[in-house]
Amino acid sequence: MTSLPSTEDPITPPSPKQRRALVVMKDVSKVFSSGTVALTGMSLTVIGGEFVSLLGPSGCGKSTALRIIAGLGDTTTGTIDWPSSRINSKGLPEGDISFVFQEPTLMPWATVFGNVYLPLKLRGISKSAARADILEALDRVGLKDFVDAYPRELSGGMKMRVSIARALVTKPRLLLMDEPFAALDEITRQKLNDDVLRLWRETGITVIFVTHSVFESAYLSNRIIVMKARPGRVHDDFPLVTSAERGLQYRTSEEYRATCDKVSRSLIEAIGFPLADGMELH
């Protein structure tokens, strides 16, 4: 697997066909039964093909927002619409969403193959019919040689790759990722960032990525939503129209620095520390 994308591989803007709203959150609020207000009046329209990061301090409701989009919990008020999807009885776009959790969330009793097979198995697809798709998904994350391994035999980064392969195997239109690499070391994390970026380019999938890392969001996304805590709401919405290639070179580029700077300022504002004039953020 090439974890280092070639320099001739620019960020592809969404093609016109994809430029349609995929999911529309309108005035979504969420109050937990404990009385905690997790989200207030959050509105967000995600366009097909976007890579959107939800960035914010802990308690800003970014994970809650992601779970609500996935249908793992109801909204207290407000609506979620899927303008370009077929909706099932639960109000969710059938088979269009995949979720990658912070932990790999693998079944320890099943092999890598068995874990990736799960979403297809639950749809009643036979193992032989699913085989090609499973191997393709594993190939995409570079784990084709570990088909018969058990999760305990894999490193943290490899487990996360299995989790990503499982999310990709259904060929979803929307990939939701909830701080997927937060528990990994920096090197593994950068590698996986490049992999996700490559997958996004190759498949044209839409990604909503929850993170608390400015650098990760600036590296990955073409749009960053900065969120504010207590109660959770949208603070800033940065469209990052960048022509830069993202790879090792981008990590050290001036443009990346500038983006990080801008996003950091916004995040600090969102957290509520006023920034003194001329204060440097690096």
């Binding site: 996935a70 249908g71 793992l72 099932n88 639960k90 059938e94 969403i97 995949s98 979720f99 959790f101 932990e103 969330t105 079944m107 320890p108 009793w109 099943a110 799960l118 979403p119 198995k121 639950l122 749809r123 058990y150 999760p151 305990r152 259904t170």
Partner: protein, 278 residues
């Protein structure tokens, strides 16, 4: 592995590994043999009469001589133990699955299971004897009741300790209740089930013996516990020891089988069956 091993680090040689395994088997056998010899010599030297303490040789003799009486009894006890364990597995797993299906089923029935569990089964045995069509059925019910609860409570615990993220994942992919049970909850509770199986297997044998003591069964269909009591009444102590020896053997075999099943089911993935590599 086709590469030649580096000379600097040959690792443990085959002979030394093999030797250690052999020692692990030989040492306990040696200890047991020594104890038996001490026992036999002690009996000879002290001249204790056989109706108080027979030596191993006398016990072995009784085992051979009385095999005609003891072997059917062994078979009866084995049958009752295994059948009650089988029923306990079916019942324990089935009821555990039913209990966790809904909060209200659990609230409604959990107290009953606790009451049944904390009541000493020996105390119910006379009642069971009255209502049962035969002594054998009564023994079966007693052994079942004792083996059933550890399996039930372990299973309930296992079914409830499923990783919440995995449950979310199953929800996300629209898994039905049945699929969640079959592909997630049952495999996830396998380690708990195996613990229940090992405890239940041991308890089933104990209960089969204790219930037979309480029932005081007699005649052709009686098990090892009755033969044990009978030998005591007749002061045939070598036969009592022989019966005891057979009970121990049965217990060891049940333990070995349940442990092996547990190893088979878990050794590929569960921490409890893994060798620590550090």
């Amino acid at each position: 592995m086709s590469n030649p091993a580096p000379v600097s680090n040959p690792g443990p040689s085959f002979a030394s590994l093999y030797g250690e395994t052999l020692l692990k088997i030989l040492v306990p056998i040696l200890v047991v043999c020594t104890l038996l010899v001490i026992w036999q010599v002690g009996v000879w030297v002290s001249g204790v009469p056989q109706y108080i303490l027979p030596g191993p040789i006398a016990i072995a003799g009784a085992l051979i001589k009385d095999w005609g009486t003891l072997s059917p009894a062994l078979w009866v006890t084995t049958k009752i133990t295994l059948m009650s364990l089988g029923l306990a597995l079916l019942g324990g797993v089935g009821i555990a699955v039913a209990l966790v299906q809904s909060k209200w089923i659990e609230i409604a029935f959990y107290p009953i299971t606790v009451i049944l569990q904390v009541t000493p089964i020996v105390a119910i045995a006379p009642l069971i004897l009255i209502y049962s069509p035969s002594t054998q059925v009564a023994l079966l019910i007693c052994a079942f009741l004792v083996a059933f609860f550890p399996i039930l409570s372990n299973m309930v615990q296992g079914l409830k300790s499923v990783d919440h993220n995995l449950l979310n994942l199953f929800d996300l992919y629209g898994a039905s209740r049945w699929q969640t049970l079959l592909y997630l909850k049952l495999p996830a509770s396998l380690p708990y089930f195996m613990t229940g199986l090992r405890i239940g297997g041991g308890l089933a044998l104990i209960a089969a013996v204790v219930a037979e003591f309480a029932a005081g069964s007699a005649g052709a269909g009686s098990g090892l516990a009755f033969r044990l009591l009978e030998a005591q009444f007749r002061l045939n102590i070598p036969r009592l020891f022989a019966a005891l020896f057979l009970l121990s053997c049965l217990g060891v075999v049940i333990f070995a089988i349940t442990s092996f099943i547990s190893w088979l089911a878990l050794h590929r993935w569960h921490e409890s069956s893994l060798k620590r590599e550090n």
